[in-house]
């Protein structure tokens, strides 16, 4: 279904607050006696800390305290996977994003003004900025306790790679490299913490994983989880970038509040955010691919090196997804894949919408076209020949038989919508005589949904129906701005057959509901929606029990807002039934859990049912290149994805458009070059995020094959929409210029190319 504006009015429970400006983000809150903190950054990327002299800083106007790692009452280091990250550095600087000290002052301006008066005495060490160098045996270790500069390693060993080599008629090799990208969420990190009279450290923060934040804060302060309560307020964008990096900001504010017994706010400047927050991993991907003359892929050998930067964060998980999806959405009988996440003294890398797939897709979706053209086969025929289909077995040995494999459907839909075959002959391929070069390109993918075998995957929901029939709902999913609360409300309204206006999503807190994991991996609607359906099933039973107790009957059924008796006669409507529940001491309250179906993984072979379901998609782009300036103009963008079921069409379209735009920006311009480990871009003036005038009109097409393993039928969409536009643009640029661009960002390559032609 093609999304049409106005076909379905958007529903958001927070729209009114956001459009009127009354929505309160973290920095919009203040408290009596509130103090302000500011971080003091390491001036170099690699050094031993001899001492930190704060004497002069303490004498500055308004300064209340200066804290260093020595003041941390709990654990100095923490992390989601490897506990290697210190909110404040104790003895060894590993990155220019490291914080040496926190200044607390009466005003933010005073705290910032005092930063220059903190005098660290350092013994500078040589920095390691290249992952390949970091992996050499003679290179000093960043984290000696880890025993290696290789943070993590994953592999896939499938079939017989040597036999694959022998059986191939054609072997191609190609290396691709990708950029370090910044999330550039509009709201910089912010945290406001205070120690409540009941002894609980209360945290308001701009972060997308309240439970992880709670763990970071509790670990830093040496408290139990029950003694930390993280409340979530509207967040100005996350995109994966407000997971552990934002938890650190909260831990720092909480430390100051804990030590001073006063509320402390720590709101980041854009410059601090860009300096410190983790980025998308830059990858180097070396492919060797063998093919039959028929076009069938015989083998893929691939080596991937990801620059993880100074700390682990979620590098093992990000690179694991790259491992599982290293051959793209294709059947490959023989696979030899090695993936390394590597420590360097660069700013660290972490979760970013796409999570290890955009890098792989950028590469493989060009590689298959290179292969097809060498064989004299069209890129579309080649893809159809090799793509996964119903009952295919993936490279990790997973049979795709639990859901509809709609990859071909997605691809055919997009090619038809853009009229691909008819437009191919118009492509310029760098024709010298034309004033504008035209190109069209597309890319396809499959994407494992949710966390897969990288983590335990479950979520819960609480439904609490009030005596008047209104409903309080909550889940362990976090509203990142994507509209997850609204999606849960719509799912519950449909399950109970009641108007959505009866349902309120409860103000979320880590003390309300069990830890449901992080709201990443496009798992919000899938997991939270699943838990909502499970809880709804239970609450419907409670409602029936209420009616049965009141009427002295048995085996009632709840359907679409009404209770029916065993022979199907309507007994009571929803409101009456709820009243009867309370009158008969039966609470219409339910706690529901959705546990993701079993997944598996063998680290040694790289085999397993990696994800319990997959999303299929295709995106296409038309563009023009100015042969003189190299300027690229996007003309048209189309996407089709099978997300299972469209819950809230306008918001779903928003995920499409937003992901396509972010993917286009990643493909064309976004880059964070470093200077001795420190990001050169400091703010939006030197980090290019796409603007309204950069964008063409976009088309979003929903393919709906409800997933049998998802209680709501929905899968996920946040990340699939981002992971395809960079390769689609690269393929279109090839057809415009006649040249393959194998490094991100693409605009840089195109500019160099046209400059070269003019010389």
């Amino acid at each position: 279904m093609k999304y049409k504006t106005g076909s379905n009015p958007a529903f958001r429970n927070d729209a009114y607050a956001k459009v009127t400006g009354i929505a309160k983000y973290t920095d919009d809150y203040s408290m009596p006696q509130m103090l302000h903190a500011a971080p003091v950054y390491a001036p170099v990327a690699s050094a031993n800390v001899i001492s930190i002299d704060a004497e002069q800083a303490l004498l500055q106007p308004g300064v209340v305290a200066v804290f260093t790692a020595k003041d941390i009452p709990g654990n100095i280091k923490f992390g989601q996977i490897i506990k290697d990250y210190p909110p404040l550095v104790l003895d060894r600087i590993k990155s220019t994003g490291d914080v040496l000290a926190l200044i607390v002052a009466e005003s933010r301006e005073q705290a910032i003004a005092a930063i220059q008066f903190v005098q660290p005495v350092l013994e500078e060490l040589p920095g390691i900025f290249d992952p390949e160098t970091a992996m050499l045996p003679e290179t000093p270790l960043l984290h000696p306790e880890h025993g290696s500069n290789v943070c993590n390693y994953h592999c896939v060993r499938t079939g017989d790679i040597e036999a694959g080599e022998k059986e191939s008629d054609l072997i191609i090799e190609q290396t691709f490299s990708t950029s370090r990208a910044e999330h550039a969420y509009l709201e910089p990190e912010s945290a406001l913490c205070h120690l409540r009279p009941d002894g609980v450290m209360e945290v308001l923060g701009s972060m997308q994983h309240p439970f992880s934040t709670r763990r970071f804060v509790a670990s830093t302060l040496g408290l139990q989880l029950k003694d930390v309560e993280v409340k979530t307020v509207p967040m100005g964008g996350g995109f994966g970038g407000k997971d552990d990096t934002a938890a650190l900001v909260c831990a720092r504010a909480a430390l100051c509040a804990y030590l001073l017994k006063k509320p402390v706010k720590l709101t980041y400047t854009r410059e601090w955010s860009m300096r410190e927050s983790y980025k998308r991993h830059p990858y180097t991907i070396q492919y060797r691919m063998g093919l039959k003359n028929s076009g069938k892929i015989q083998f893929v050998k691939v080596r991937i090196v990801a620059d993880g930067g100074a700390y682990c964060s979620v590098t093992p998980w990000v690179t694991w997804r790259s491992t599982v999806q290293c051959c793209g959405c294709y059947e490959v009988p023989n696979v030899h894949c090695d993936v390394y996440g590597v420590y360097t003294n660069n700013v660290f890398s972490g979760a970013f919408r796409g999570f290890g797939s955009p890098q792989v897709n950028f590469s493989i979706e060009q590689l298959v076209e290179i292969a097809a053209h060498k064989l004299g086969i069209s890129e579309s025929e080649f893809r159809r020949l090799n793509m996964v289909h119903q009952d295919s077995v993936t490279i990790t040995g997973q049979k795709l038989n639990t859901h509809t494999v709609s990859l071909k459907q997605a691809m055919d839909t997009v090619l038809k919508e853009v009229d691909y075959e008819a437009k191919l002959p118009q492509c310029s391929f760098g024709k010298p005589e034309s004033d504008e070069w035209y190109g069209i390109g597309y890319a396809i993918s499959y994407r494992g949904m949710s966390l897969g075998a990288e983590g335990t995957d479950f979520n819960s929901a609480i439904i609490n129906i009030q005596p008047d029939g209104s409903v309080l709902l909550e889940t362990g999913i976090h509203e990142n701005g994507q509209g997850s609360e609204s999606a849960m409300i719509l799912i519950l309204a449909e399950e109970l057959g009641i108007p959505k206006e009866l349902i309120r999503y409860r103000f979320p807190s880590t003390s309300n509901i069990p830890d449901g994991g992080t709201t990443v991996a496009s798992r919000g609607t899938l997991l939270g929606g699943g838990a909502t359906v499970k809880a709804a099933e239970i609450v419907k039973e409670r409602i029936c029990e209420g009616v049965e107790a009141a009427k002295g009957i048995k085996n009632c059924q709840y359907k679409d807002g009404k209770v029916y008796d065993v022979v199907g006669h309507e007994v009571d409507d929803y409101f009456t039934a709820i009243k009867l529940c309370y009158a008969n001491q039966i609470y219409p309250y339910a706690f529901g859990v959705f546990q993701a179906p079993r997944v598996s993984w063998d680290e040694h072979t790289g085999h397993g049912d990696a994800y319990f379901t997959w999303v299929y998609g295709c995106q296409a782009v038309e563009l023009m290149v100015n042969p003189k300036t190299g300027q690229i103009t996007l003309l048209n963008m189309v996407a089709a994805h099978d997300m299972g079921k469209a819950i809230n069409p306008a918001m779903l379209a928003g995920q499409f458009y937003g992901g396509m735009t972010m993917g286009a920006g990643y493909g064309l311009y976004e880059d964070m070059p470093l200077d001795s480990g420190n990001p050169k871009p400091t703010n939006y003036h030197n980090y290019r995020v796409l603007r309204s005038t950069d964008m063409p009109e976009m088309t979003a097409i929903f393919i709906e094959n409800p997933d049998p393993n998802s209680p709501s039928g929905a899968k996920g969409i946040g990340e699939p929409t981002l992971e395809l536009m960079a390769p689609a643009i690269a393929n279109a640029l090839f057809r415009a210029t006649g040249k393959r661009f194998t490094s991100l960002p693409l605009a840089t390559g195109v500019q160099d190319f046209v400059k070269g032609l003019q010389q």
């Binding site: 504006t5 106005g6 459009v19 550039a184 100005g236 964008g237 379209a653 735009t661 939006y684 976009m698």
Partner: protein
């Protein structure tokens, strides 16, 4: 030394004349709907209307706006809470995700429609060029601008 904000006159304290307008609105008037995203005047989150022109309040000091009329996002909503047609269009068209750019987008839209009640989609794109949005890809914001323009034209006709 008076500044009019959302129809109400405020005296600008002489000690604060060099304070950023965005911070004054947020900290002194508690109008926190004005957001600060970059603080260097390139993201547009802090957009307000000054004498009906969309301006970046983080780049202005209090002394720059003495005697001017300022409209912030809080001034767009009627006192009874009824949304301005632009706000309603943003809600209906799905133009809101994280919401951090929304106040600035609404105000840039208002400035456009005051000048040009019947913009093309390209003109709408140009009008919000200075406002970054990282969530929506702008398309539904353009939809909202077009829809609001239509509603406002029709209500003008009716009057």
């Amino acid at each position: 030394m008076s500044i009019n904000v959302n129809g109400k006159a405020y005296e600008a304290p002489s000690a604060l004349l060099d304070k950023s307008l965005a911070l004054w609105l947020r900290e002194d008037l508690l109008l926190t709907g004005t957001k600060i995203g970059c603080d260097i005047g390139v993201c547009g989150s802090c957009t307000v209307l000054i004498d009906n022109k969309a301006m970046r309040s983080c780049k202005l000091k209090l002394k720059d706006v003495i005697g001017k009329n300022i409209i912030t996002i809080e001034g767009m909503t009627q006192t009874d809470g009824t949304l301005h047609p632009i706000q309603q269009a943003f809600v209906d068209c799905g133009a809101i995700q994280c919401g951090f750019c929304t106040p600035g987008m609404v105000l840039s839209t208002y400035a456009l429609l005051l000048e040009n009640p019947n913009p093309t989609r390209t003109q709408a794109r140009n009008a919000i060029k200075g406002n970054l949005c990282r969530c929506t890809g702008y398309q539904q914001i353009i939809d909202a601008i077009m829809s609001a323009a239509q509603t406002m034209r029709e209500s003008k006709k009716d009057n």
